[in-house]
């Protein structure tokens, strides 16, 4: 599986790169921290976590002074953008930015790291957009109060959590059936073959064929030719995946669709539901910054800051998502060298990740887990 190994390596490389970028960028600003006022002595000397807490608080607090000075000094806007970007990177390490949901979604759906990065960026930018829309409509157009914005925020939040639950439930449905099918095909095989350390040749051949087939799918969505007249293959796929009740028969395989097929063209539509589920809920920090900027008569600066925060957030989320995808492909590589139980284990991991998505959605919706307390009191 050369492509898989490469994906794993790329994932690792990207993760390291992202981590290095974060540290370098943070260090640069830290060094000139005195530029925006006294740095204070609250930065703990040890512990990445503590340091990150201190940094994000520092960035956030310096925003108000920078926005104020932007009123008279245009160049302060650049500082604001830089701070917002870094704040986003650090802030997303905290709760409520869909890291867990996106990562679990990627693992369950056997998505590529590329797609993980795209999903992370799309959801983070949607989150920024929603914050701007909420403040733009509620505060700028309707002159709503903080309390009214909070109520609107709560409704959006509930919708978002319900969507996360739906995405999770759907994944469990699809992946659970895959798991059961795998288990069934295992138990129907002769007993001596099941426990064998070496994959039965027949099975291996089967798998191998699949892999080639699937990689073709993933990389040549629109150019490959399976002899379908007129309609692009992608269209067909999309249709099947959106409804996905007849995979088995559509493909004529005994054990249903290979994951890469699921990650194929139709997958973008499903990815969209994950983006909306995660990105719908605006971050309360962004809303506070936007309203403050509005009060200073610099709403546009708040909008720019919000999108920079979103960009920073996206980088952190993408790094964690990539890490998760990397682990998953490593697990798959090991699983691929085993007999049927390896594939069963992979299906098990996918179902587990799907359960995590549903679990997070449920806990969030029922209020047992606080993603991020709204600034409403």
């Amino acid at each position: 599986m050369p492509v898989n190994r490469m994906t794993g390596r790329m994932a690792l490389a990207l993760t390291l790169l992202a981590a290095a970028a974060v540290l370098v960028a943070a260090d640069a600003v830290y060094a000139q921290g005195s530029a925006f006022g006294p740095r204070g002595d609250t930065i703990p000397s040890s512990g990445i976590l503590g340091w990150m807490f201190a940094k994000q608080a520092e960035f956030y607090r310096s925003m108000s002074a920078v926005i104020r000075s932007a009123k008279t000094d245009g160049s302060a806007v650049w500082t604001l953008l830089g701070i917002s970007f870094l704040y986003g990177i650090f802030h997303a390490a905290g709760p409520g930015h869909g890291k867990a949901v996106i990562s679990s979604y990627l693992v369950a759906n056997e998505e590529t790291w590329r797609r993980g990065v795209v999903l992370s960026f799309a959801s983070a930018l949607l989150q920024a957009f929603v914050a701007v829309a909420v403040v733009g409509i509620a505060a700028v157009l309707l002159n709503a109060t903080a309390g009214q914005m909070c109520s609107a925020g709560r409704v959006i939040e509930l919708v978002s959590y319900a969507l996360i639950m739906l995405v999770g439930a759907r994944l469990i449905w699809v992946k659970g059936r895959g798991f059961l099918r795998e288990a069934r095909s295992l138990s129907s095989r002769p007993l001596h073959a099941v426990g064998a350390a070496v994959t039965p040749p027949e099975h291996k051949h089967h798998d191998h064929k699949h892999d080639d087939h699937c990689h073709d799918h993933a990389h040549h969505d629109h150019v490959h030719d399976h002899g379908h007249p007129q309609h692009g293959h992608g269209h067909d796929h999309g249709h099947h995946h959106a409804h996905d009740h007849d995979h088995g028969s559509a493909w004529g395989h005994a054990h249903g669709p290979e994951p890469e097929e699921l990650a194929g063209p139709g997958g973008w539509r499903r990815g969209f539901s994950a983006i909306v589920a995660v990105g719908l809920r605006p971050c309360s920090g962004a809303i506070i910054v936007l309203v403050f900027a509005l009060a200073q008569g610099l709403f546009w600066a708040g909008v720019a800051a919000t999108f920079m925060m979103g960009l920073g957030t996206a980088i952190t989320v993408a790094a964690i998502a990539t890490l998760a995808v990397g682990f998953r492909s490593a697990a798959k590589q090991i699983a691929g060298t085993r007999s049927g139980y390896g594939m069963l284990a992979m299906r098990g991991i996918e179902v587990g990740a799907a359960v995590v998505v549903l679990g997070f959605g449920t806990l969030l919706l029922l209020g047992y887990m606080v993603a991020e307390r709204g600034a409403c009191f």
Binding site: D41, T42, P44, S46, G47, L49, G50, F53, Q56, A57, Y60, M63, S64, H91, A93, G94, P95, K99, A100, S103, A139, N143, A144, T145, A146, G147, Q148, M149, S284, G285, I287, I288, V289, F292, L294, A295, Q296, I320, A324, F327, A330, A331, I334, A335, R338, G342, A345, G348, I349, G352, A353, V356, L363, Y368, M369, V370, E372, R373, A375, F377
Partner: protein
């Protein structure tokens, strides 16, 4: 299969860990607090004056009616003060009292109002938080903090703590919260998913502590 198991476990902890609650403040409060005594020398409650940071203040007054631009009278802010004290109930007013090893209960705030400082553009919330039952004790401990660290409470630089109509000989001691250490950050990260704090162990780390002793 062992390696696969290890990978699966790492993956699980990554996914669950990414969703764990690790709080971060969005609201900063500079506090001044007074321990209030009744005529009989019993502690009757705590009077707070909490000044919010400028960003949160701007957020809180957004859309409120004002006669003069850039200024708010306490009368104009009274509905907001009402909402504030009602919502703070959910968070136990971030105030915890203990005497003789026992938690003391508070009842709904009295004498609450908001003031807007037009120069700094910040809001200050004033309220008296009465104890359910006034208490005569040699030593009473108060803690003010947000266990989930969404609100950062810091004592004002000057006159942060006072005693109101206290009997002669009463004294107070102030303990500031420790700076955030690695252990504390870990504690924050370990707050269970339901947001409930298992014991008052976090208080020691984050709370602004006020101890009053009377002869």
């Amino acid at each position: 299969m062992n390696r696969l198991l290890i990978l699966a476990c790492t993956l699980a902890s990554l996914l669950l860990g990414a969703g764990s609650v690790s709080a971060h403040p969005h609201v900063w409060v500079t506090m001044k607090s007074a321990v209030v005594y009744g005529p009989d020398g019993a502690v009757v409650g705590m009077r707070h004056a909490w000044t919010f940071d400028d960003m949160y203040s701007a957020f809180a007054v957004q859309g409120l009616e004002q006669k003069k631009k850039g200024e708010f009278t306490s009368a104009e802010l009274q509905p907001l003060a009402q909402v504030n004290v009602e919502s703070l109930k959910e968070y136990d007013f971030f105030t915890y009292a203990k005497a003789g090893g026992k938690e003391l209960a508070f009842v709904d705030p009295k004498e609450y109002h908001l003031e807007f400082d037009p120069k700094e553009a910040v809001l200050t919330l004033f309220f008296l938080l009465p104890l359910k039952t006034p208490l005569k004790a040699k030593s009473v401990n108060f803690q003010v903090f947000d266990p989930t660290y969404f609100v950062d409470f810091a004592l004002a630089e000057k006159d942060a703590v006072a005693l109101e109509t206290a009997p002669a000989g009463c004294q107070f001691n102030v303990g500031k919260p420790h700076e955030l250490t690695k252990e504390m950050a870990q504690m924050l990260a370990d707050i269970p998913a339901d947001g409930k704090i298992p014991s008052d162990s976090y208080g020691e780390a984050f709370a602004n502590k006020i101890n009053v002793k009377c002869p």
